[in-house]
Symmetry: C2
Subunit: 209 residues, 2 copies
């Protein structure tokens, strides 16, 4: 996002003084609550208690805000893969477990921007670019799953591509309902996802557990 | 949806003759591809090769189409629970397995309308009503999971509410990428989801498998 044109150093009468970060956070929150395409500049102005004419002192365009939010999500999710892949020791299975855990932490720490990313349907250039970057991340996740399967750590009766889609489908579904004041913290969510997908829900039978 | 006003019995010159079902299917497809709020009546007209003025002979409003689509998804997902609950024999665990399988079949058979439902964020009355109906379905799924856990069929170290959210989060994530011409059929997807969530991904160790 470019520097905010005409942003005053001190509050002016009748125009709340927002820094760039506050404007961005409030806008992303609103987009993630009611949908990017369903949110007008008028809605953003109301959210920020600005008039429709003064909002352009703070925001160049809705799409600028969207682009910043999507890049935030993509940069952080990309870093999850960088960290997993950089682990030189550790099995592929361990890297996959780390990536699952780390993805959930990023999703919770950057919830509104990850939520926006997961809902992108790709009409504009900004959305198309984000989808392209997201597909690259998805491909790297499939590669991690394939490596863990090749190592013999995962069951061999399921296609690694399908495993990856379903596993990270479950991780991403957290964005639909987890809220900052959720009754579950990141640790509980990570444990639940890892337990379900790696160990399964079925109660351990006699002689196994 | 009401009968289409002014719908001609035979094609008129320059105006494609669509039946109500075709208009609905093409509109839902378009909404699910590019998002309901991002789709204008002009986009719908283009999709149907109609002029902007003649589209109102076929469609009363975008919201009418949305309501019909959401009701289709909700009626079919509600019926999944009706069927599972009506099973008088069978354990709660079996009912849960049936509900997972049946949900995936409904999701695939009604993909565009279920996709729309899963993306509803609830700004309009129609969306708010759909969210209320969806929450009731989610509550019935939690009840099924609780019953299976109470029966001792599921591991007891995870909260049934959290299990339900994650399990059906994985099921619903299929709507994000499964397409009618997908390389996986309903049977393969159902098997993969059930295997992952009930048995787990970890390769069976020596002495267990």
């Amino acid at each position: 996002m470019p520097p905010l044109a005409g942003h005053p150093a001190a509050p002016r009468r009748g125009r709340p003084d927002y820094d760039q970060e506050t404007v961005l956070r409030r806008a992303i929150d609103l987009f993630s609550r009611q949908g990017y395409h369903a949110t007008s500049m008028g809605d953003l102005a109301r959210e920020l208690s600005l008039t429709k004419s003064s909002i352009y002192h703070h925001i160049r365009s809705k799409e600028d805000l969207l682009e910043t939010a999507l890049n935030e999500a993509l940069d952080n999710l990309g870093a999850v893969l960088d960290r997993a892949e950089a682990h030189r020791t550790g099995s592929a299975y361990q890297k996959l477990c780390d990536a699952v855990e780390d993805s959930i932490e990023v999703l919770i720490a950057h919830l509104p921007s990850v939520t926006l990313l997961l809902r992108v349907q790709g009409i504009s250039m900004v959305e198309q670019d984000a989808l392209r970057r997201r597909r690259k991340i998805d491909d790297r996740l499939v590669t991690l799953v394939r490596a863990a399967a090749a190592e013999g750590a995962l069951r061999d009766d399921l296609d690694p591509y399908l495993i990856s889609r379903l596993l990270f489908g479950m991780v991403n579904s957290l964005a639909e309902w987890v809220r900052p004041n959720s009754r579950y913290d990141a640790r509980q969510l990570t444990t639940a996802v890892a337990t379900i997908v790696f160990d399964g829900l079925r109660a351990p039978g006699p002689g196994i557990g």
